[in-house]
Symmetry: C2
Amino acid sequence: MTLLIACRKIKKDGFADGLRALDASLDVRIWPDAGDLAGIRYALVWKPPEGVLARLPGLRVIFSIGAGVDNVLSDPDLPDVPLVRFVDPNLTMRMSEYVCLHVLMHHRRMRDYGELQSQAQWKEFLPQPGANELRVGVMGLGVLGLDAVEKLRMLGYQLAGWSRSQKQIDGIECFAGDEGLKPFLARTDILVCLLPHTPGTEGMLNAALISGLAQDGPLPGPVLINAGRGKLQVEADILKSLDDGGLWAASLDVFEEEPLPPASPLWAHRQVIITPHNASISDDMAVCRYVANQIARHERGEPLENVVDLSQGY
Amino acid sequence: MTLLIACRKIKKDGFADGLRALDASLDVRIWPDAGDLAGIRYALVWKPPEGVLARLPGLRVIFSIGAGVDNVLSDPDLPDVPLVRFVDPNLTMRMSEYVCLHVLMHHRRMRDYGELQSQAQWKEFLPQPGANELRVGVMGLGVLGLDAVEKLRMLGYQLAGWSRSQKQIDGIECFAGDEGLKPFLARTDILVCLLPHTPGTEGMLNAALISGLAQDGPLPGPVLINAGRGKLQVEADILKSLDDGGLWAASLDVFEEEPLPPASPLWAHRQVIITPHNASISDDMAVCRYVANQIARHERGEPLENVVDLSQGY
């Protein structure tokens, strides 16, 4: 069996070595050293060079290295074979680390205390409500969102969730769809976005959405945390809201353009915490184990797991 | 019934107003406007002026505003009446917020990413292990320590605890006493100290202890987080360990001298996160409810809760 690794912008050798170690019968090739294209049955991809996948007549399954598959769907010539996204407990744990960390950093005002520290100033009493006084809202209630909701709730926060279709989560108020968005935002002090990038979510984190967040919360203003995809956010609107007080602070792990251009005013904004799209990075060996396991299932005639619904984009 | 509020360095009016609102029969006075000393039955204190409590012949109970009672025990003329420390779910939640936040900040290298942000530098791959690869050790397994252990475990960390006397916690490796300290430190990448200040813990966080921490962990070196009491730490040793690599980073909420003097080199140390002893601040109204409730119990002849064992100091 032959697998082709076709990725841009990331290192590929680790995946090749890992897959070979896990399945000695697998003939692993790295694009553009692909050999006979007709023999390639599986592809492991991240931002695959456009059109490459369409040139593989024997292709059975495409595996995305990320949880999001917008990196694959952007190929206009994507062949009609199952696309499997990466789902892994490690990826989920890492994302919840990021979410809890950034909610706590804003809640406990670490930017302000960091500034006070740099001035050697001791000042105990910046308003810092208890977690149980803060309303966190999580957009996106898939595997990542559910885990983040559980962990934030355990830290004491008041949680609610929003998703495109209605979900039921024990003890969590779940809002859904367009009609659920307004009341969800109105009760949210800290908004956490874990949505995928689809035509329906593109540009969603804009001025209109931000202006719907709770303005009566116990922090100086609402907080936006986006670890979904950069295409969801309108950075000009976020900056404007930060400057006019509609937003108090933000943590952004993803950006309209990545890497974030050095000229972006987000870098220097006092109330913005930037991380370089590494909230949750797929662990190379975990990806290899996942793919080897799915290939074995497929070869035994068992169904693939976590196949993307192309009509929804996730 | 008369209650005297005797505090230094904190505002007292909130406690007086709160207690009066909760129990109209309570005659609340604030030192030094104490009136007839013989009639005072209860005292609510934080760093009480020395000798004041000894001048109250009718005193039945002393309530400490903090979870730690070193602020009271430092009075050389402390009368022999029950001393009750403040225990409150809110105080516990706040401390666990602090602990989870600071463990996550070091683990996810927020100081490093903050510096990269200030230089507008996009750099994805600083080593950042998963929570499940990091061994956190919590010293002090009272109400605060237990809650922190549970929440850190839920975030994915490998947990162990240390306490003076042996404890049993489901699923957590518990070390105890002098003989347990060495193996506890040797398996610990991030040390969280929540111990009280007693003669046995004073100066405990010193060079010898730090050198016993794991040096083979997945971060660049061990991390120390102290939210117990400042007298536990030897700041000269911490600074030396940070500079010679024995310690990679630290979060300190408490200090040998508070406020931390402006001349302390801790303020400017790149790998130290300073907060002004506000990891967990007693909520005024929660203190009032707690004290009013305990007074009512005592007046009904029921036992007081959370009475300090003076032989242990907590």
